[in-house]
């Protein structure tokens, strides 16, 4: 077990972890604004990657145009989802919400299968694939893109939630929805915003990771679940805690796959999920809830 190997696994783990972090933040934003866990979150990731592919190949758009295009369409799907599925729900019990978001995710996945088929597709990397050496390990330029874009998005998030009025309004909703409504915040609109931001972030995550892992109609399931895992580790925060959660998950998964067994790679995330839910459901960094009845 050489240091180089461990470094390699850690680096690639950090980059997948960044993706999990972005997806996890998406979960947290919707959850904090609405109390809903959006099972369909992973599908926006999938849409981001596949839509970019279509923009590049079918519409022959250059990368700098394809990406915003893909994000825009994914966000549109997110808006439609919120409008058509979430808002009209008459009995928003947890069971119904779980079922409807699962139904939505299946529907989106099925439609994606119709459009793009079942094959995996390769997406060209943003700036070539000449490996870069770091220590005894190598990373690809796409990894750097992932780190950079993740940092940018987290920064934008911070600015939005803490410096803008609508961001602060969303935070108010997450602390106390009724009070927020009483001071004049349009809660329904905040719900819509939360879906817009989450689907956009999910799409971006999908776009930056697609060149590394190929993309297909069903990548959303696993990525979504692992993103959720990151959010749980981070205590459903839409900030640093979830980022750390994602990075921890990515690195543990990568080290586990490399050093122990690659077949069980996916199981690692779920075992961690179960352990956290059993032992410390408020996440590694959250404070335990004191119930008020």
């Amino acid at each position: 077990m050489q240091f180089d190997q461990i470094l390699q696994y850690t680096l690639s783990g950090l980059s997948t972890g960044a993706i999990y972090a972005l997806i996890g933040i998406g979960f947290s934003i919707i959850y904090n604004a609405t109390g809903i866990i959006n099972f369909a979150q992973g599908e926006f990731v999938m849409l981001g990657g596949l839509l970019t592919l279509s923009c590049l190949e079918l519409l022959k758009l250059p990368l700098w145009a394809a990406v915003p295009c893909a994000v825009a369409v994914s966000t549109l799907v997110g808006i439609l989802f919120e409008r058509l599925a979430i808002r009209p729900l008459r009995q928003p019990t947890p069971i119904n919400l779980v079922i409807i978001t699962i139904g939505g995710s299946i529907l989106i996945r099925g439609l994606a299968m119709l459009v793009w088929g079942k094959d995996t597709h390769a997406v060209p990397p943003f700036s070539g694939d000449t490996p870069i050496a770091i220590g005894g390990a190598t990373i690809l330029p796409q990894h750097l893109w992932i780190f950079a874009i993740t940092l940018i998005i987290i920064f934008i998030n911070k600015v939005y939630f803490y410096r803008t009025i609508s961001g602060k309004a969303m935070r108010a909703c997450s602390y106390n929805r009724r009070a927020a409504g009483l001071v004049g915040i349009d809660v329904k609109r905040m719900v819509l915003f939360s879906f817009i931001i989450s689907s956009a972030m999910g799409a971006v995550a999908g776009i930056i990771v697609a060149p590394l892992t190929m993309t297909a109609y069903d990548v959303g399931v696993m990525l979504g679940l692992k993103g959720f895992c990151a959010a749980i580790i981070g205590g459903m925060s839409s900030g640093a805690s979830t980022v750390i959660g994602g990075l921890i998950l990515g690195v543990l998964e990568s080290l586990g796959a490399g050093l122990i067994s690659s077949g069980y790679k996916d199981a690692i995330a779920f075992i961690i999920l179960l352990l956290i839910l059993f032992i410390r459901p408020q996440g590694l960094f959250g404070k335990a809830d004191s119930e008020r009845v």
């Binding site: 004191s290 119930e291 008020r292 009845v293």
Partner: protein, 251 residues
């Protein structure tokens, strides 16, 4: 019968209850009153095992029951009703009361599923017993209605009938008169007196002063998390501290 001593409850930075102590005698109807925010419901939730208290003890018939979960308290013959009635809306009125008899029956999962003969006769006994409690509360005619469709006043009576089916020795009611009109409140007062006549100790948290002064044997007054006064209705009505707490100083 029921004794609380030194009950203190701290939520984050707020001291909801500060060393509250008093006792309730067997067979009494005891009222717990106080301005809003005095900590009455918090105290109730601690006694009935729903909250964990920060300090203090609860003794039931001399036995320390502090921190015991509600289902264990039910087996020790203590039961409570809720301020926002917690009916089993999807079941019928009769079925709601039948659940109340859970501790007075014992057919387990396998016995029920395999329809063992003794579970069938127990089921009949439960059904008959539940109907009796509905009659006691005066709502036997609603037995087959869905609980969720009941008007509020009837729902209150159902919750009380259901609690009585546990055959408790002490029943704690959280604002039973809330939301009732004066006619329904009068009927409630009669019902509570009949419950006391069965030998059951009653403790009420209430805001309706007329009801409290009318039926309670003893009254405990809480204010801002502390016990302010304790005594007979007359003593409480004449206590200057209580008057000051409710109405503000007269100067």
């Amino acid at each position: 019968m029921l004794e609380v001593s030194g009950i203190t409850q701290i939520f984050g930075g707020v001291t909801a209850l500060d060393s509250v102590s008093f006792s309730m005698s067997k067979g009494d109807i005891t009222g717990v009153i106080g301005p809003n925010g005095a900590g009455k419901t918090t105290l109730f939730n601690i006694i009935t095992g729903i909250y964990r208290q920060s300090a203090g003890t609860v003794l039931l018939e001399g036995k320390d029951v502090t921190g015991l979960p509600p289902e264990k308290l039910a087996r020790l013959a203590m039961v409570r009703t809720f301020q926002n009635i917690e009916l089993f809306g999807g079941m019928t009125v009769l079925e709601n009361v039948m659940v109340g008899m859970h501790t007075r029956s014992s057919a387990g999962l396998l016995a029920c599923a395999l329809k063992m003969p003794w579970s069938i006769s127990e089921e009949r006994r439960i059904s008959v017993g539940a109907l009796k409690w509905l009659e006691f509360a005066g709502i036997a005619d609603l037995a087959d209605h869905t609980a969720g469709s009941l008007p509020f006043g009837k729902g209150r009576l159902l919750e009380i009938a259901r609690a009585l089916a546990v055959e408790p020795r002490i029943i704690l009611m959280d604002e039973p008169a809330a939301g009732l009109n004066s006619q329904e409140t009068f009927a409630l007062a009669q019902l509570i007196k009949r419950i006391r006549d069965l030998g059951i100790t009653v403790v009420l948290v209430e805001h309706d002063m007329e009801l409290v002064m009318d039926i309670c044997d003893r009254i405990v007054v809480l204010n801002l998390g502390r016990k302010l006064a304790e005594g007979t209705p007359r003593e409480i009505q004449e206590s200057p501290e209580v008057i000051a707490a409710y109405l503000g100083d007269d100067d």
